[in-house]
């Protein structure tokens, strides 16, 4: 036993009977409206608009009708089929939208899941600090000069007015290389780059030289046999200490913040005369020396100023050794520890993490400082 198969045993529609066509139309529209999903609608389309649907079959009958009835029947069946197709299309749009909505809802993920498949890279904070400083000066029109770290004794010392018997040589505990009579050292300062610059360029000279330098200091929280310096050199007509002060004030405010200025104290460097120590106003307590809870400021230890570096007017003897006419040109030079600047700028009390290679340290600074 089987029930009537509407697919294969279509109800016969007599196209002439308008109430029958109307009924078919109503039945079709009801089925379309009742189709719950796209699959059901597909079946409804087959049943009510397919080739073997009652109306399609009725349509075929029209040709057999007497001519006077043909037109009316044609119109009636055509209108019904048109209405059904329209309803099908409309329902299709609605069901497709519903389907898409359901699909997307089902595809919902937990966006809070972790996404990092590999650790992020990062650059060394001293590299970043060097570049930052270089950029400050490049923005002023300076260029970045470079030189070798294994350097000729003459360039590291003699050319800078540090003759072989100059007591200041012992101030810089120097790494010497073998054989000793080859006069090759690990540069103790970036100053030989200044000499090289003057020897290879004509004034006006405006350069900064960041780089690695070496001293025979035992490695501890505040000393390292290798550290980084940045030196600046300007040689031009009419250069004075006032230009030096202006440049360092600008440098300080760019690196440490608006309103941070410098202070000069007399000092001694063979390659400059007059020479000065540069202190920078403490950018944490803004020079007051007072920290949290009116204790002494931790960054400057209550001084209000932080020792930053050395500077001065280029000694005319250095100009002569480097082939610059001191009657025409004068200059200034300054030098700061990049590591030291980094340490107080970023509140690092022990320098050793800078050279231990622990990725947890570098990673903390990412790719920009």
């Amino acid at each position: 036993m089987s029930g009537p198969n509407t697919d294969y045993d279509p109800v016969e529609v007599t196209p002439l009977k308008s109430e029958e066509v109307e009924a078919m139309r109503e039945a079709a529209l009801a089925a379309i409206a009742g189709a719950a999903d796209l699959d059901a609608l597909k079946q409804v389309r087959l049943d009510h608009a397919g080739d073997r649907s009652p109306l399609a079959l009725a349509n075929r009958e029209i040709g057999a009708l007497p001519p006077q009835a043909r037109k009316e029947a044609g119109q009636r069946v055509g209108q019904a089929r048109g209405a059904i197709n329209q309803a099908l299309a409309a329902r299709q749009v609605v069901l497709e939208a519903e389907h898409e909505e359901r699909m997307l809802a089902e595809e919902t993920v937990d966006v809070s899941l972790p996404t990092t498949r590999r650790p992020r890279g990062g650059r060394h904070p001293l590299t970043l600090q060097s570049e930052l400083i270089a950029d400050l000066f490049v923005a002023m029109g300076y260029e970045v000069a470079e030189g070798p770290v294994v350097e000729a004794e003459w360039l590291n010392f003699d050319a800078l007015n540090l003759g072989p018997d100059h007591p200041a040589r012992t101030m810089q505990d120097t790494f010497w290389t073998e054989p000793a009579d080859h006069h090759v050292v690990l540069r103790t300062q970036t100053s030989p780059v200044q000499a090289r610059t003057m020897l290879t360029r004509r004034p006006p000279i405006y350069v900064v030289c960041p780089g690695r330098v070496f001293r025979t200091d035992e490695y501890d929280a505040t000393h390292s046999p290798m550290f980084h310096q940045v030196e600046g050199l300007v040689v031009d007509e009419g250069i004075t200490m006032a230009h030096l002060k202006g440049t360092l004030d600008h440098f300080a405010s760019q690196l440490f913040g608006d309103g941070i200025t410098t202070r000069f104290r007399p000092s001694y460097f063979p390659f400059t005369e007059p020479s000065a120590e540069v202190d920078v106003k403490c950018f944490v307590c803004l020079g007051s020396g007072t920290g949290v809870d009116s204790d002494a400021c931790r960054t400057c230890r209550g001084e209000g100023w932080i020792e930053w570096g050395g500077c001065g007017v280029v000694n005319p003897r250095v100009l002569v050794a480097c082939g610059v006419d001191p009657e025409v040109y004068s200059g200034f030079a300054f030098g700061m520890g990049i590591d030291r600047s980094f340490m107080f700028r970023h509140n690092l009390e022990d320098l050793r993490p800078l050279f231990e290679g622990d990725v947890r340290f570098s990673s903390a600074f990412g790719t920009e400082i």
Partner: protein, 828 residues
């Protein structure tokens, strides 16, 4: 230099009410930088007074000790005037002695609070103090017994013990040797502190004229020793103690009191800056002779060291031979001892350069040497010697011998021409010539003329030699703090050079690829090279050696960055960071074994040839890049399994750098330490080898504490940067459709994929747009010793749609060439 303030103020007056801070602030601004202010009594508060012991009852205790129950008269310092009962464990005193008493409420160094407390059956109200308890040294044998006339009970004891003395420590720059003396510092106070007056020069005194009766002295090297003054005292009491004030001042200045005779010479050195040597006159045989040492001569110096002398050393001899290293250290044979009663006092001026060289040669650092090598006032030898004689007579009961020997005289100082406006031109300040002259005279210069000044520096300023030196003197007195702030205007710059830009780009690229930059020291030792497994003849063993390394393990400048990065990687793994990718860029040092780097003259610009020779004498120092990766390259997670690092990550790190420079890297198999012999790629650009990458040899992994399969690369960045593509050409794209062809080729295992790909590329001709190896298969289906390489080829023409069969024909041509070149067989 540590200088007791009272000593400074013996020689200069400051306005009443001037604080120590005001003095040191001013001195710091004019060039004597304050390091610290020390005061021995700084940590002592509350009543610390003179006490007179009235009674003293010894009371033996059960623990075997005997304590003294004392009553002490402390005047009315205790508020009652009644005697104070104090228990004391020391025994080196007697009733009637004056002692140092701290009363309840006082605090001693170390935060030791004194109160009245029950002890040994008494209420002990205070303490009788030892030197150690007051922080005055280590002497704890007994309590301090004050001289009978020290003061009266109840009086504050601080001034009597010098506990209220402030000692100022200055940082003295090497050009200001004159400030290594009270004389120099007092003079700086005079010129720096507002209202300071009354400078009393300790070296300005009437001295007896030279006569023929002094100890005979012959100076054979007048250049090395321009002035030699000798004086003698006799009848000296070697047991005479050094007076307290002198002990306190010498101690405060950082020197150790030894005996009156020695302490006096040190005291005068500190006061005047002129080092003095004292000989035991009875041990000196005949005339003193000053000359240079002869090759091979020896001397045992006061420190007990036996030294072989150099012909450059200045020595003092007598008939017995060498008795001292002039100006640096005396000899043992004529040393002043506890039995010395006659003292020969030497105050000589020595050549500073010679002093510096001798000090360095024999590694002697002494207070005398420090002053002599920086330059001392040559005009004060007679005054200093006379001052020594005066103090030995006054405190040691000696008699001054009438003889005075003076050999030589202080060299004349030539005037220096200084432009009157130089200070203004150098400083950028408005400094008049009058002001300049005033400042120069204040520091002791003789100034004549106008417009161009003729300036004779004072004899204690040998550092003032060049015109510009005098400008500093003027500017520091006018005030460094007044220098205006003016930005210069540089010409337009060219920005970073291309190599500088590219180096930054390389760092950023690697950071973007997940590598973390490290900075390590460039020092290595033989152990590092051995740990890398380098062959004995590996060129990386040719190192530049340091003469004075910090340790033997860091004796060379490295030729490769690998030891540093591998060590750093090992440390990270040790710290638990097991998934790791690091890189370092830095120069390596490759000796050229060329000649010495000349010491060129400094009075002219070196020639181009001289400079080129200088550079040629230096080792090559190319910039290298090293990378190391270990553990997982991609972590496991909800997305899937982890991917461990492989040799290919090391190669790809270099490729990413090369890409950033517009370069293409080719890889070829090579065997090289420290890499795995079967997993090392030699990397080339345009046919030149630029470096190596691959998996690190298991033994090397073990040596550096790294997990097996750690990978590494090292390349020469200078070579890459030199080849970097400067101007890249804009590409032209075809908009015609692409035709894709895949081929799978079976080749011997030993055939490099790159060779197959190259043959395919060449054989495919110009229609080939790209080729990509997408699968490598080994296994049964291709047979033993074989592998299957699957390539995806894309063909496209620039000007048309490819015709049916065109791409297939090109593919077949490609396969044919690969077959011919590599023996490849196409898999069906």
């Amino acid at each position: 230099m540590k200088a007791p303030l009272s000593w400074i103020l013996d020689h200069v007056d400051v306005p009443a009410g001037t604080t120590t801070d005001e003095i040191t602030d001013r001195l710091t601004l004019t060039g004597l930088k304050l390091e610290a202010i020390e005061s021995p009594g700084r940590d002592i508060t509350g009543p610390l007074v003179v006490g007179r012991v009235l009674t003293m009852e010894p009371e033996p205790q059960k623990n075997g000790k005997t304590i003294n129950w004392c009553t002490v008269d402390v005047g009315d310092a205790n508020g009652t005037g009644e005697p104070q009962g104090i228990v004391c464990g020391a025994h080196n005193f007697a009733p009637g002695d004056l002692v140092v008493t701290v009363l309840p409420g006082g605090v001693l160094p170390g935060g030791f609070e004194i109160g009245a407390r029950k002890t040994y059956g008494h209420l002990s109200a205070g303490m009788i103090c030892s030197a150690r308890e007051l922080g005055l040294g280590e002497d704890h044998d007994g309590i301090i017994v004050l001289p009978a006339d020290a003061g009266s009970p109840g009086e504050d004891v601080r001034p009597l013990l010098g506990l209220d003395e402030e000692t100022i420590e200055f940082e003295i720059n090497p050009d200001r040797a004159y400030a290594l003396s009270i004389r120099g510092i007092a003079r700086e106070v005079l010129v720096s502190v507002e209202g300071a007056t009354g400078f009393r020069d300790p070296a300005l005194r009437d001295t007896p004229a030279a006569n023929g009766e002094g100890h005979p002295v012959v100076v054979e090297d007048a250049e090395g020793c321009p002035v030699f003054v000798a004086r003698t005292v006799t009848g000296f009491d070697p047991t005479a103690p050094t007076p307290d004030f002198m002990v306190r001042r010498i101690t405060a200045a950082g020197m150790r009191p030894i005996s009156l005779a020695v302490d006096v010479t040190n005291y005068v050195m500190l006061e005047t800056g002129r080092p003095i040597h004292g000989y035991d006159a009875d041990k000196v045989q005949g005339a003193l002779v000053v000359r240079r040492a002869r090759d091979g001569e020896r001397l045992t110096t006061l420190d007990g060291a036996s030294r072989t002398l150099d012909p450059g050393d200045l020595v003092v001899t007598d008939d017995s031979g060498i008795i001292g290293l002039g100006g640096v250290m005396g000899g043992e044979t004529t040393e002043i001892s506890g039995a010395t009663t006659s003292i020969l006092v030497e105050a000589a001026h020595w050549d500073a350069v010679s002093m510096y060289r001798t000090g360095r040669r024999h590694k002697i650092t002494s207070e005398a040497g420090k002053r002599n090598e920086r330059g001392v006032d040559p005009t004060i030898c007679e005054a200093a010697a006379d001052r020594v004689v005066e103090l030995l007579v006054e405190h040691g009961g000696a008699q001054a011998h009438p003889g005075v020997t003076v050999v030589g005289s202080a060299p004349a100082i030539a005037p220096v021409e200084v432009s009157g406006d130089l200070a203004a031109r150098v400083s950028g300040m408005d400094i008049t010539e009058e002001r300049s002259v005033e400042c120069l005279r204040a520091v002791g210069c003789e100034v004549t003329g106008s417009g161009t000044l003729s300036v004779i520096p004072p004899p204690w300023r040998p550092d003032l030699t060049d015109a510009q030196d005098f400008s500093e003197e003027v500017i520091r007195l006018v005030g460094y703090d007044l220098v205006p702030s003016v930005l210069p205007t540089p010409p337009s710059g060219r920005g970073l050079t291309r190599p500088q830009q590219l180096r930054r780009r390389i760092g950023r690229t690697l950071a973007g690829e997940g590598f973390v930059e490290v900075v390590t020291f460039p020092f290595i030792g033989t152990e590092d090279l051995d740990a890398l497994g380098l062959a004995p003849d590996d060129p990386r063993r040719d190192v530049l050696r340091l003469s004075n390394p910090l340790s033997a393990e860091a004796g060379y400048m490295t030729t490769t960055l690998l030891p540093g990065v591998l060590r750093a990687a090992g440390k990270n793994v040790g710290h638990g960071t097991t998934d790791l990718a690091i890189f370092e860029t830095g120069t390596v040092t490759l000796p050229r074994h060329s000649g010495p780097a000349a010491i060129l003259p400094v009075d002219r610009r070196p020639t181009k040839e001289e400079l080129a020779a200088l550079d040629a004498a230096l080792p090559a120092q190319p910039l290298h890049l090293a990378v190391v990766a270990a553990g997982d390259a991609v972590a496991g997670g909800w997305w899937g399994a982890a991917r461990p690092v492989s040799w290919s990550d090391a190669v790809d790190a270099v490729r990413s750098v090369a890409d950033a420079l517009g370069l293409e890297v080719t890889a070829a198999a090579v065997e090289l330490a420290p890499w795995h012999p079967g997993r090392c790629a030699e990397l080339s650009v345009d046919g030149e080898v630029v470096g190596h990458a691959g998996e690190v040899h298991p033994k090397v992994c073990d040596a550096f504490g790294l997990p097996r399969r750690t990978v590494a690369a090292e390349v020469d960045l200078d070579l890459l940067i030199a080849r970097a593509v400067h101007l890249r050409q804009a590409p032209a794209f075809s908009s015609y459709p692409v035709a894709k062809e895949d081929v799978a080729l079976v080749v011997d295992d030993s055939v490099p994929a790159a060779e197959v790909e190259a043959a395919l590329r060449e054989g495919a001709g110009e229609l080939l747009e790209s080729i990509r190896l997408f699968d490598v298969y080994t296994g049964e289906q291709v047979g033993d010793g074989k592998k299957s390489l699957a390539f995806a080829l894309r063909f496209r023409a620039a000007d048309r749609t490819l015709k049916e069969g065109e791409s297939a024909a090109a593919r077949d041509a490609a396969v044919a060439l690969a077959a011919e070149r590599t023996g490849a067989v196409q898999r069906s």
